[in-house]
Amino acid sequence: MSRGGEKTGKAFLPKGEAVVEPPSRTLVWGLIAFGLVLNLMPWPDGLLWLVPDFALMMLLYWGIRMPRLAGLGLAFALGLVVDVERSLHLGLNALAFTAAAFVVLSLRRRLEKFDALRQTLQLAPVFVGKEALVLTLGLWFGHGESDWRWLAGGILAALVWVPLAWSLDRLTGRPVEPGE
């Protein structure tokens, strides 16, 4: 009986042929939008500097897996929205997001072969570098003083990457390399 149910119903985790099917455009953009929603959650006021940039993490995840759907253009647009969300000068996060996407897309071939744990070691400089770029650009564009605690958000993003990428791999059916 259970075998019959498996044939007709759709499995929660993709199996067999479904694994080879690439994630749809709706799923990819939906999850990136979900990252933006996570950014907008009512985080405690005193700990805002510690909250990782979920929109960037989702963008880079899909940049590695589906570079055609999450490229530089999307990074730029997403960065502008994050600028509005954080009420910064427009363009600061846009540049930082594009730069992070550029680095990741250049290293894509290497990153997609790694599992989440090895990826995070390579992505940590990108996450911290993105925060550093925003803080430095802010100084340059005439904000008085930067709060360098915000770099901690980048480090936390690297830590959160492991469970995030692991669960996204499982939920959206990333093809498992035979070597892994």
Partner: protein
């Protein structure tokens, strides 16, 4: 290996570095325009109009939780609070009577001296929604905006004293830069002796300072600083800060006074945005007289 449907067979586009360079240049251009001009405020408001409902919807469960938590207070607590509030009310009523008498007397004296009237103050009550996630400055978002008649530059106070100033307007919300922001300042008056100084934020939540103070300036710990009203932004007489200590000049020719904000900067949720009616004194009509001649060699 199966080909992904999104990938074109022949790629005809600029290389990755070239595209990155283009976007980077565009970002810098936008940042420059946004720093110098107001041209992009419309775009910012419209994106914010989309983000605001999402943020409000996400915050709603937390607010409900807090309200439900507030529902279960004991009878004893309510009674104690009621007693405290009625005591406070009678105390305030007495002060209010005194104040009315003083206001009438002040108006009469001003009339006698033919001084212009003090600007009136009307307020709009607002609630702080969130702290802005901004690593550069101290701002909060309040739930009143352009549609409620707010204007950029309006002072924001709470029950205790000055909180900050409205610095950016959206249709339904507004950004308030707190008094403790590094770039924020307020002209104040020392209540004890009428010394006029500028108090500025330090970027810390509970510290303000008076920079560039004369070495012999008469200001000491315990002094209360109220707005002086000479800038036309903040009306006179709002409590701003209490002096904690004064630092003698070290390395610089100026002394410094460290103060503590009196208003609940970053503590209270309810604030009032003041609608200051500034009365600009009329320019006296120039007397037609003989032009000074021969003054210039």
């Amino acid at each position: 290996m199966s080909r992904t449907p999104q990938a074109p067979l022949f790629v005809r586009e600029m290389g990755l570095p070239a595209r990155f360079g283009m976007y980077a240049l565009l970002s810098l251009l936008i940042a420059l325009v946004d720093t110098r001009y107001d041209a992009l405020e419309g775009a910012r408001s419209s994106v914010n109009m989309v983000l605001h409902p999402v943020r409000a919807a996400l915050a709603a469960p937390w607010d409900w939780f807090r309200e439900v938590g507030g529902f279960f207070v004991t009878h004893g607590e309510l009674q104690a609070e009621n007693l405290r509030l009625s005591e406070e009310r009678s105390r305030l009523l007495i002060l209010q009577q005194d104040r009315q008498a003083l206001a009438v007397e002040n108006a009469r004296l001003r009339n006698l001296l033919s001084l212009p009237e003090r600007p009136g103050v009307v307020g709009v009550a607002a609630e702080i929604l969130t702290m802005a996630a901004d690593p550069f400055s101290r701002k909060v978002i309040i739930n009143r905006g352009q549609t409620h008649g707010l204007v950029a530059g309006q002072p924001v106070i709470d029950g205790a004293g000055l909180v900050g100033q409205v610095t950016r307007l959206y249709p339904l919300t507004a950004e308030v830069t707190l008094l403790t922001d590094r770039d924020q300042g307020a002209p104040v008056l020392n209540m004890r002796n009428g010394l006029r100084v500028l108090v500025s934020g330090t970027g810390s939540d509970n510290l303000l300072e008076v920079r560039f103070l004369d070495m012999h300036a008469d200001i000491k710990a315990g002094d209360l600083l109220y707005t002086s009203g000479i800038d036309g932004v903040y009306p006179a007489g709002i409590p701003v800060a209490e002096v904690v200590r004064t630092d003698p000049p070290r390395h610089t020719p100026f002394a410094k006074a460290v103060c503590r904000p009196i208003g609940g900067v970053g503590r209270f949720r309810q604030v009032v945005v003041l609608n200051v009616q500034t009365s600009v004194p009329a320019v006296p009509a120039r007397q037609p007289g003989p032009r000074p001649t021969g003054a210039r060699p």
